[in-house]
């Protein structure tokens, strides 16, 4: 082909290769992902102190912009920002009121004018954080808290931190992601992260209706048969099944899905004995996963919450740091034009 769209691989990196937005794991190399995990490790230690707070982002304003409501994710971002000593503003924006692009731009420009330093964005449209970072408020650090079906990079990184804590590293690991890959931003980010961090094999296990076309191009093997797909696994990640998937003829019933793709002790026994079980939550017990497995010794589901705050602190401080260095370079000219 002779021409391309203007993909800017450096959209989220400074000229020195530092993070200035955190939009996707695409384009971030292993060293960067490792640096995020290492920094998160340091923040885990902060979380164990009497005062779980560091002054890193003191005087900075972080706005949680949730165009799609999610109390759980918003709370972890809020806690992370507060532990970095930032001022936090939570805005749940009714998407129907801002479904037109221009009003979204206006909302954001108003917020930028209020001297915001960072937007944590959740949006139902894939690419919305890219759009904001690229065209609306390039001087504000944008953290993607989940966009459409595209990416949920902080969730994926906390999963990677959990895996590293339990497995020591990524080399040689066989990992499967099970369930509704088609609609899952988490799965897309996980597959990218696992490949970048150098696992031996990533499998996706689902019926064809829940798999995007050309999924193999992301670097994974497709398995329709869960019993076969569970073999030799070190890590199995169960995705949440949105119950409305029965509509639109993607699945016949919860019961049939659970029978074929739900994780129970019997299927788990086909994996390696020390295989860990992960789930981004909240769990539909008896739909994706049996209670005995969710609460069992191989489950690391609860552990993921602590890591979630640490990873978000890491990403927020790194992106803020990159933005700051850009602004320093931009001086003495006014940064916000």
């Amino acid at each position: 082909m002779i021409a391309h769209g203007s993909t800017s691989p450096s959209l989220q990196l400074t000229h020195e290769g530092r993070l200035k937005h955190f939009l996707t794991l695409d384009g971030l190399d292993r060293a960067m992902l490792t640096a995020i995990l290492d920094t998160a490790d340091s923040f885990i230690e902060v979380g164990e102190r009497t005062i779980k707070k560091v002054p890193l982002l003191r005087g900075r304003t972080v706005v949680n912009l949730f165009f799609e409501s999610s109390t759980r994710t918003r709370s972890t971002f809020e806690l992370a920002a507060k532990r970095l000593s930032a001022d936090v503003l939570n805005l749940d924006i009714n998407t129907s009121a801002t479904s037109k692009g221009e009003s979204l731009s206006d909302t954001l420009l108003n917020l930028e004018a209020m001297a915001s330093d960072m937007f944590v964005v959740r949006h139902s449209q894939s690419g919305a954080p890219h759009f904001i970072a690229e065209t609306v408020t390039p001087g504000v650090a944008i953290i993607n808290a989940g966009d459409g079906r595209h990416a949920h990079p902080t969730q994926a990184m906390l999963d990677m931190l959990t895996i590293r804590q339990h497995k020591g590293g990524f080399e040689g690991l066989k990992v499967a992601v099970v369930g509704d890959i088609l609609h899952s931003r988490v799965a897309r980010s996980q597959i990218r992260a696992l490949n970048t961090l150098g696992v031996a094999e990533v499998r996706v296990i689902a019926p064809a209706t829940l798999l995007p076309r050309d999924i193999e191009s992301l670097g994974c093997k497709v398995e329709y048969d869960m019993s076969h797909g569970m073999r030799d696994l070190d890590v199995v990640i169960m995705l949440r099944l949105q119950l409305e998937r029965m509509e639109g003829a993607l699945l016949p019933s919860e019961r049939e899905f659970y029978r074929l793709y739900g994780l129970n002790q019997e299927k788990l026994s086909l994996a390696k004995p020390d295989c860990i079980v992960m789930h981004p939550g909240p769990i539909n017990r008896g739909v994706e996963i049996e209670s005995e497995v969710a609460d069992g010794s191989q489950s690391v589901i609860l552990n993921q919450v602590t890591n979630g705050i640490a990873v978000r602190m890491a990403v927020m401080s790194m992106a803020m740091s990159g933005q700051v260095s850009e602004r320093v370079k931009a001086r003495p000219a006014e940064v916000r034009t």
Binding site: R18, A35, D38, T39, D41, S42, I44, E45, V46, R49, T50, I51, K53, V54, P55, L56, L57, S317, M318, M320, S321, G322, V324, S325, V328
Partner: protein, 171 residues
């Protein structure tokens, strides 16, 4: 400019000064905390010399620096590690070189986030006296006045040595 003492002499001086201060204050079981990286090496040596059993704490002040706005986050930040409660303890904070005093301010802020110590003594191997904050070490290996083109750096851990760097020669 005074000549730089040998590392052995510096350590001896630091040790004796610290013993004296601890004796004055009647502190028998100080909690040693080194500031990464040089301060950690020194804290460990002092622990051996003072024959303390308790392991040293290691402080990474990257999250507490006041120059985030200018230089951002240290990309090689490591977790701080304090193997003891600081609440009510007599802390000895150890660093290799004190200059502006900003590192020590950041370190004290961090220590307080772990708990409220009974006291803090500051021991530094070299004092360059270019203070920007009202912070003075209690114990010093050597006071040194450098000219503008000179830098001093502790290298280690094996062998531990202090190096004077002339920036003119480097360039």
């Amino acid at each position: 400019m005074t000549a730089l003492l040998s590392i052995g002499e510096l350590l001896d001086s630091l040790e004796s000064g610290l013993r004296q201060r601890l004796a004055e204050r009647g502190i028998e079981r100080p909690a040693l905390i080194g500031i990464r990286t040089g301060g950690v090496w020194l804290a460990e040596l002092l622990r051996e010399r003072l024959e303390l059993e308790e392991a040293c704490g290691e402080l990474d002040i990257s999250f507490y620096r006041d120059d985030f706005s200018r230089i951002g986050l240290n990309p090689r930040v490591q977790p701080s590690h304090l193997p003891f409660e600081t609440e009510g303890r007599d802390v000895v904070l150890v660093d290799d070189v004190i200059m502006s005093g900003r590192t020590i301010r950041a370190a004290m802020n961090e220590i307080f986030d772990y708990g409220r110590p009974a006291s803090i003594l500051l021991a530094t191997l070299i004092d360059l006296s270019a203070r920007e904050l009202p912070i003075q070490p209690d114990v010093v290996g050597q006071k040194l006045a450098l000219s503008g083109h000179q830098r001093v750096k502790l290298k280690g851990p094996e062998p531990l040595r202090v190096e004077l760097i002339d920036t003119r020669q480097q360039a």
